[in-house]
């Protein structure tokens, strides 16, 4: 009962098959190097600061879905839930550096921090300047006074979007770092799950949750969250989640936000629209303006039955770069 049926071949070949499948669907957009461990956007603009994203597999379409024009220049693909190795990150860094340095943007997890910091040291020895922004939008289990310990989830996509726009506009790494850090500081997310996803290779559940329970604020692999409770009407769940998000990200009347409502893998579009309905009621009441709404599957935890709500507060600068036309497989904006 606990093992889920999955459409796979030999689990050893998953990464190869996945990156192949992705590149074949993106022939005009990107190519791979290092046996598919690195995916790089075609025709990188000259004289620009590089934007490198990456992390372990398991949250697809994050990160590969966000490589492309005016999005990330490349992604480094680790194994399942494992950071990519420093040497591969270094190769990717060299591939996207255009003598203006490279920004590393990745989820704030211990293994990734180690690998990317090591890669940054190796890059420096190669004469390539790097800076780092760690995505830390998940307010689930860690209070704001320990914000630097928070992990990254779906809100990261909004940050990548802003950073991608900025990377193609600014002409130095410090500016890209500043803008990307601001995007991270202005973004909050929460996940609520009704059912765990399963590990792709073993088929085992990632965490246990009773049939009639949900957990609000859970981490993407089941790290303990804010509240485990009996199932309730979704409006009540949304109310609780938004209250926590707005506690953490103070918004005032006439503030502008981007809303990203994300399916963690196994809930329906119908449910997402019901959730969106409630979010709009609350934000309208508070006179907070939803500048843009994204609804869909942007960041997953396999077939977790759950959703995440992310809000990014926009100022004029973030709005400008968020609005920049962009083209990646899972995020398109405007006409390019």
């Amino acid at each position: 009962m606990n093992k889920s049926k999955r459409f796979l071949n030999n689990p050893k070949n998953i990464k190869q098959e996945v990156t192949n499948g992705f590149v074949l669907a993106n022939k005009n957009r990107l190519y791979k190097i290092c046996d598919g461990n690195v995916l790089i956007a075609n025709n990188l603009a000259k004289d620009k600061v590089g934007l490198l994203i990456g992390g372990g597999m398991g949250a697809e379409p994050h990160f590969m879905g966000y490589v492309g024009k005016n999005m990330a220049d490349c992604t480094v693909v680790g194994n399942f839930y494992a950071a990519p190795s420093p040497n591969i990150i270094l190769k990717a860094t060299c591939a996207v550096d255009r003598k203006k340095g490279v920004l590393y943007l990745y989820n704030n997890y211990a293994g990734d921090n180690l690998s990317f910091d090591m890669a940054a040291e190796l890059a420096e020895e190669e004469g390539i300047q790097t800076k780092t922004v760690r995505i830390s939008d998940n307010i689930g289990s860690i209070p704001i006074n320990r914000k630097s310990d928070r992990g990254g989830i779906a809100g990261g996509i909004l940050i990548v979007k802003v950073a991608g726009g900025a990377a193609n506009s600014v002409d130095n790494l410090d500016d890209l770092y500043r803008i990307t850090k601001k995007a991270n500081d202005n973004t909050r997310s929460l996940i609520t799950a009704a059912k765990s996803g399963t590990y792709l290779d073993s088929g085992e559940l990632m965490f246990d949750l009773s049939e009639d329970e949900i957990e609000i604020g859970i981490g993407f692999q089941g790290e303990p969250g804010l509240l485990r409770t009996k199932m309730m009407p979704v409006n009540e769940i949304v109310d609780y989640m938004l209250e926590r998000i707005l506690d953490d990200l103070p918004l005032v009347e006439n503030d502008k936000v981007v809303l990203l409502l994300n399916d963690m893998g196994a809930i329906t579009f119908i449910e997402l629209l019901i959730i969106n309905n409630r979010i709009n009621q609350i934000l309208t009441e508070k006179k907070i303006f939803i500048f843009d709404t994204l609804i869909g599957n942007y960041y997953s935890s396999q077939e977790m039955a759950g959703f995440s709500i992310s809000l990014m507060k926009l100022d004029d600068e973030l709005k400008k770069f968020y609005n920049f036309p962009a083209s990646s497989f899972n995020f398109m904006k405007g006409n390019l």
């Binding site: 494992a82 190795s85 420093p86 040497n87 211990a110 293994g111 921090n113 180690l114 690998s115 910091d117 090591m118 040291e121």
Partner: protein, 215 residues
């Protein structure tokens, strides 16, 4: 003059260390089965075999370069978190070296001191987190106090301190890494990385004890 190892001897010492680490493969795998994914022995063997191959086929003109090369090889071939940590041990340790021609007790202390600082920063760890630092930092501290001694005496004391530190990891729960989820269930088992760290220092000391040193 304090006793010291020249570059050739330091290289021989590291080949000696590498050959002995390899013999601990099963022991390290077994220790890692409880706290990790059970392959620390395989990973360290892969790394130190590569170190032997490199050192046996290359000459080094400077101590910094020798130690940094070892770090790069461990980083590449051990892989994973252990590759980064043991790579950092030698890579960052090499940055502490001042006299690039001979390894005496002062340079040994410089090496360990730089390694400790870099690992603390990189791994965001401190003493008592049940990591290799619990073996390395006590060794570094004692080495810093013994820079007037001969290298053999300094290394012996550092190795003893590392042993005690490694033993101390048995009594504490893991705070970071994969073993974190075990919590108190990790008590009673030493950290595999601390065992490796102890062995590295133990066999450094073992080599130096027998070597003919330059006074």
């Amino acid at each position: 003059m304090k006793s010291s190892l020249n570059i050739e001897q330091t290289k021989e010492m590291m080949i000696f260390v590498s050959k002995h680490i390899i013999t601990k493969k099963d022991e390290l795998n077994k220790a890692d089965k409880v706290l990790g994914d059970g392959d620390h022995g395989n990973a360290m063997t892969r790394g130190f075999e590569a170190v032997i191959t490199k050192l046996e086929n290359e000459q080094f003109a400077d101590l910094k370069n020798l130690l940094k090369t070892i770090g790069n090889i461990l980083l590449d071939s051990v892989g994973g978190v252990a590759g980064i940590i043991f790579g950092t041990l030698f890579r960052s340790g090499s940055k502490g070296i001042i006299n690039t021609l001979k390894l005496d007790s002062s340079e040994f202390s410089n090496f360990l001191g730089h390694a400790v600082e870099a690992i603390k920063l990189r791994g965001n760890v401190k003493i008592g987190d049940k990591t290799m630092l619990d073996a390395l930092e006590p060794a570094s501290k004692i080495a810093a106090e013994l820079t007037d001694l001969h290298i053999a005496a300094s290394m012996k004391k550092a190795s003893e301190a590392a042993y005690k530190g490694m033993e101390s990891t048995k009594s504490i729960p893991a705070r970071i890494g994969r073993a974190k989820i075990l919590g108190d269930r990790s008590i009673g088992h030493p950290d595999p990385g601390a065992i490796s760290t102890y062995y590295i220092l133990k066999y450094m000391s073992g080599y130096v004890k027998k070597a003919e040193l330059n006074d």
